[in-house]
């Protein structure tokens, strides 16, 4: 990846982080930790990878993205807004009764949302169903699903994984946001889903790993994922929960809590410093 592209993605990611904080702060609730950990991935997918068009959010041949870890809605909304699906200003209406930006993604209300999610383990099945639909109709689009590392404790994830491999859906790419933390604590202490890569391997997936905060690493993984060989793909990306806001990083208490005014100001300053440096 060339330096200019990388710098642009870094800028997009910082703006996405800015929107996450804006939404969660105004809502006084929501999930910043797991949103921030996947912000770089979302910048990469929506600004560099997916075949999508903000002017035609439902165009038939678009790539599909399903946020299986639906509680990370702030990162999806901020990405879609920054990509031009709806106004960035609307992010401040997150979780308000008169807003279309529901606490968890709602495909009926939000342009660019391909599947309603929120109940963990369910998004991956719907994504696999979309991939199956493409195969049945001979469509060439791909389907991406982002899962949390805690989410994969849900049995349905493995039902879906078994199905995707059995039906040879090599147009399906599962991405696991391995930030290592879930609500009740570190994932290996709560109910360890490790080893994650080996589990997907055993289920018949082509497995890849990536650094969730390194665009070269992400680019290499997704380029490799594109080489279809009859197997669905799982990309396990190592990430930092709360990435980009110093006091939220690797701190489980920011899984589902909103910053107060003082904390909000610190977060905004940190992100805006990044934006200013990139724009300089």
């Amino acid at each position: 990846m060339d330096a200019a592209t990388k710098k642009q993605l870094e800028l997009n990611a910082a703006k996405i982080r800015r929107g996450i904080i804006e939404g969660v702060y105004n809502a006084k609730s929501g999930h910043p930790g797991g949103s921030l950990s996947s912000a770089d991935l979302m910048a990469y997918l929506y600004f560099n990878r997916l075949n999508i068009d903000p002017a035609q959010p439902k165009k038939a041949d678009r790539d599909r993205f399903v946020l299986s870890k639906g509680h990370a809605a702030p990162v999806l909304y901020s990405t879609l807004a920054n990509r031009g699906f709806f106004p960035v200003e609307d992010l401040a209406t997150l979780r308000k009764p008169d807003s279309y930006l529901q606490g968890h993604p709602d495909m009926k209300k939000i342009p660019g949302v391909d599947m309603s999610t929120g109940s963990l383990g369910q998004g991956i099945s719907a994504a696999v169903g979309m991939a199956l639909s493409a195969k049945l109709s001979g469509d060439s689009y791909k389907v991406y699903a982002l899962l949390g590392d805690g989410e994969i404790e849900e049995g349905q994830v493995w039902e879906a994984a078994m199905f995707a491999a059995a039906k040879k859906l090599d147009n399906f790419i599962a991405i696991v946001d391995n930030n290592g933390l879930q609500i009740d604590g570190p994932i290996d202490e709560v109910n360890s889903p490790y080893p994650i890569v080996e589990k997907f391997e055993a289920f018949g997936f082509k497995t890849l790993t990536a650094d969730a905060h390194d665009f070269d690493s992400l680019d290499a993984a997704f380029n490799e994922a594109d080489k279809a060989d009859g197997r669905p793909v799982a990309i396990v990306m190592k990430s930092v929960k709360g990435k980009g806001v110093s006091y939220m990083e690797n701190n489980v208490s920011w899984h589902g809590a909103a910053p107060n005014a003082e904390q909000y100001a610190i977060a905004v300053k940190e992100i805006e410093d990044v934006i200013a440096a990139l724009e300089a």
Binding site: A60, R64, V66, D106, M107, K108, D114, M115, S116, G118, S119, Q122, G123, I124, S125, A126, A127, V128, G129, M130, A131, L132, S133, A134, L136, S137, V143, G155, Q156, E159, A160, M162, F163, A166, K167
Partner: protein, 315 residues
């Protein structure tokens, strides 16, 4: 008496799918390792590429159905009622109901007429479960004719539909001229003393009960109610006003099903006694289906007793 033709509505389901498969090239049928029992096997034979076996994983199957529908397919997801409505309830609620996707749930082996498999497989709670999901349409056909028409109507309707079918062969009641419309009850017999509203497998017994009661001088209005949701308020309220009491009959728990839907409706327009006939909030057991139906009072005699209860309350 001439032999009455009997067909299980699960067979009607399979046959109707084959018919609809020719009409809709985006129709996809899913099953969860029960294609031989749910009768989707005949669709598989006709359209092998459009029949997807999801294996023994009903929760995932409902999600697959949702994804297929989101990508433009007309999907029928099939399993036993116990697993379709019970095990996969939350997937149906969140992945299909909430986004109002065009998924049809073909639930066979409903009620205690499953027979020998026993209580673990005899689902008498499915209508209650599905009824609480906003926007869900629930169809519970009485015979082969109605079951085929229900499948056709479900294809023409955009949105989630729960279709309830039985394992046991039941008499074919309706002829080729029978008209079926989602949300409409059908008056099978006019009457003024009491209204009997039956659904699914109980319609046959209800016809028999109404006939016996009329010989005793009781004028029974008989309504077949194939759509449990949206319930036909008009026909129910009219019946309440004109006959003064209602008896409901269903092969389902008396909690949550047709009886509840009718009682809820009547309380809002014309409160009259409503006596619910069905499975009395108990689990089933193993045995031959016809024996079980008698044991649990799911027959004409059981209905007649409830009608007399209702008439006594009316006085």
């Amino acid at each position: 008496m001439a032999d009455i033709k009997k067909i299980a509505t699960r067979d009607s389901y399979g046959a109707a799918l084959v018919e609809m498969g020719a009409k809709y090239d985006n129709l996809v049928v899913l099953d969860a390792d029960l294609a031989a029992a749910t009768k989707t096997g005949v669709f598989k034979k006709a359209y092998p590429e459009r029949h997807i076996d999801c294996g023994i994983a009903e929760s995932n199957m409902m999600g697959i159905a949702a994804g297929l529908a989101a990508a433009g397919k007309l999907v029928f997801a099939s399993s036993f009622a116990m697993f379709a409505a019970g095990r996969a309830f939350e997937q149906v609620r969140n992945s299909i109901g909430y986004p109002h996707l065009n998924v049809k749930i073909g639930a066979t082996h409903a009620g205690i007429s499953v027979g020998e498999d026993g209580a673990s497989h005899q689902c008498c709670e499915d209508i209650g479960l599905m009824r609480t999901i906003p926007g869900m349409v629930i169809l519970n056909p009485a015979d082969d004719t109605e079951a085929r028409l229900a499948v056709k109507a479900a294809c023409e309707y955009e949105g989630p539909v729960y279709l309830r079918f039985g394992r046991l062969a039941v008499p074919v009641i309706f002829g080729d001229d029978y008209k079926f419309e989602i949300g409409k009850g059908v008056t099978l017999r006019e009457g003024t003393d009491v209204t009997l509203i039956a659904t699914g497998l109980m319609v046959g017994a209800a016809i028999e009960a109404a006939e016996t009661l009329s010989q005793e001088g009781i004028s029974v209005r008989l309504i077949n109610m194939p759509t449990i949701k949206p319930i036909d308020k008009e026909i129910i309220c009219k019946a309440a006003r004109e006959t003064g009491c209602i008896v409901t009959s269903e092969e389902h728990n008396i909690i949550g099903g047709l009886g509840s839907a009718v009682a809820e409706t009547v309380t809002g327009c014309c409160p009259v006694p409503v006596v619910r006939h069905g499975v009395e909030d108990v689990f089933g057991r193993s045995g031959a289906a016809v024996k079980l139906l008698d044991m649990y009072g799911l027959n004409a005699a059981g209905i007649i007793a409830k009608v007399k209860e209702a008439l006594a309350l009316k006085k």
